[in-house]
Symmetry: C2
Subunit: 209 residues, 2 copies
């Protein structure tokens, strides 16, 4: 077996740990969706302003379709953090979430198209926009839940960091199939490994933490 | 870059996830050490009764010294779960913890020697014992904090699962150096990757969860 991935000697992952701690304190004090979206958006904006913390393994595109790397799941499944990585031309199906979510673009660009339920299916709301690094969007059954996200770039990967109000890979939600019918959708995750956010030993030894 | 480790199609890691959820609910409701040790011991006993959940990557010994694989850290750092893997002949230094801890042997056998503070150093308490799979021991400044743990087997690895009342790899604690002096000790972790405990998608799709 190959040797373990050694912890970073410089705690590069600190911004993600701080985001996780901030979100944990937030969900500890409230379950109010508008507050979660407003405060979560502030925390996510700070996280995606810095592009140096994401380990390469969790930014790696696949050839065939987009990857969904879980970075953290709250142990009571009140929220999770996922790195979505689109290769050139990759797109999601038209899908919903059934819980709140925030999407923040870290690298590249994503094209987002919104849909709304209509007579047993969904129809485009005519709101398509391109999101660039630093831009954040919210989804939920309250603010608008159905959308399609695609890599806006044809020659490079794009990466966005998502926060959802549940363990999203285990949520029974919905998508449109090729015939436009609403079918069940459980997204799972692309990897059985998470980043270790917790090795603060170098900072502690240096007397900095 | 190699492809991601795929999530298990059979949720083999469920016992560890259930342990983490149980411990999280426990630290949510109490900070009382005797309660944490008593209830934590019950949860740990259930976890180590089953030897099939630990991914091989987190049971892999090194050649030179013991490995400490973080499996989970509470996001508020109230507890953590670590897989300790001793190769033949490996041992810890004589050390303390400064927080409560529970050690449960999963595989092999470990020899544990207890020490007590004495006039600026520590001395053996004369209590040495061998722990086998299923056996659990507690440490803390209250119940006895200084010890040495070694692989009792000379030809095979041993593995124990530890729970501590902090992010133990980031705790400033103490050990004896080769000259018998008490020096600072921050243990860190052996890997920058954790197991993903949260991919319940196969069970959800199958309608079992
Ligand atoms: Fe989405
Ligand atoms: Fe110890
Ligand atoms: Mg609480």
């Amino acid at each position: 077996m190959p040797p373990p991935v050694p912890p970073s000697p410089t705690d590069r992952i600190a911004p993600l740990r701080e985001f996780v701690t901030g979100m944990t304190r937030l969900v500890d004090r409230t379950a109010d969706e508008p507050t979660l979206l407003a405060r979560g958006r502030e925390l996510l904006a700070a996280l995606i302003a810095d592009d140096a913390w994401l380990p390469g393994e969790f930014a790696e595109p696949a050839v065939d379709t987009y990857r969904q790397y879980l970075l953290h799941c709250d142990p009571l499944e009140r929220f999770c953090v996922v790195s979505f990585v689109w290769g050139p031309g990759h797109r999601t199906p038209i899908h919903d979430h059934t819980v709140w979510g925030l999407v923040g673009v870290l690298r590249g660009a994503e094209r987002c198209t919104e849909y709304a339920p209509n007579e047993g299916s969904v129809v485009a709301r005519g709101l398509e926009h391109t999101m660039k690094p630093g831009m954040i969007e919210a989804v939920s059954p309250t603010v608008g839940d159905w959308h399609l996200v695609a890599n806006a770039l044809e020659d490079r990967p794009s990466v966005s960091i998502h926060v959802y109000g549940a363990n999203i890979g285990a949520v029974r939600r919905h998508r449109l199939d090729d015939a436009g019918r609403i079918v069940d959708f459980v997204s799972g995750y692309s990897s059985a490994r998470l980043p270790n956010l917790w090795d603060r030993s170098a900072e502690v030894r240096a007397g900095k933490a």
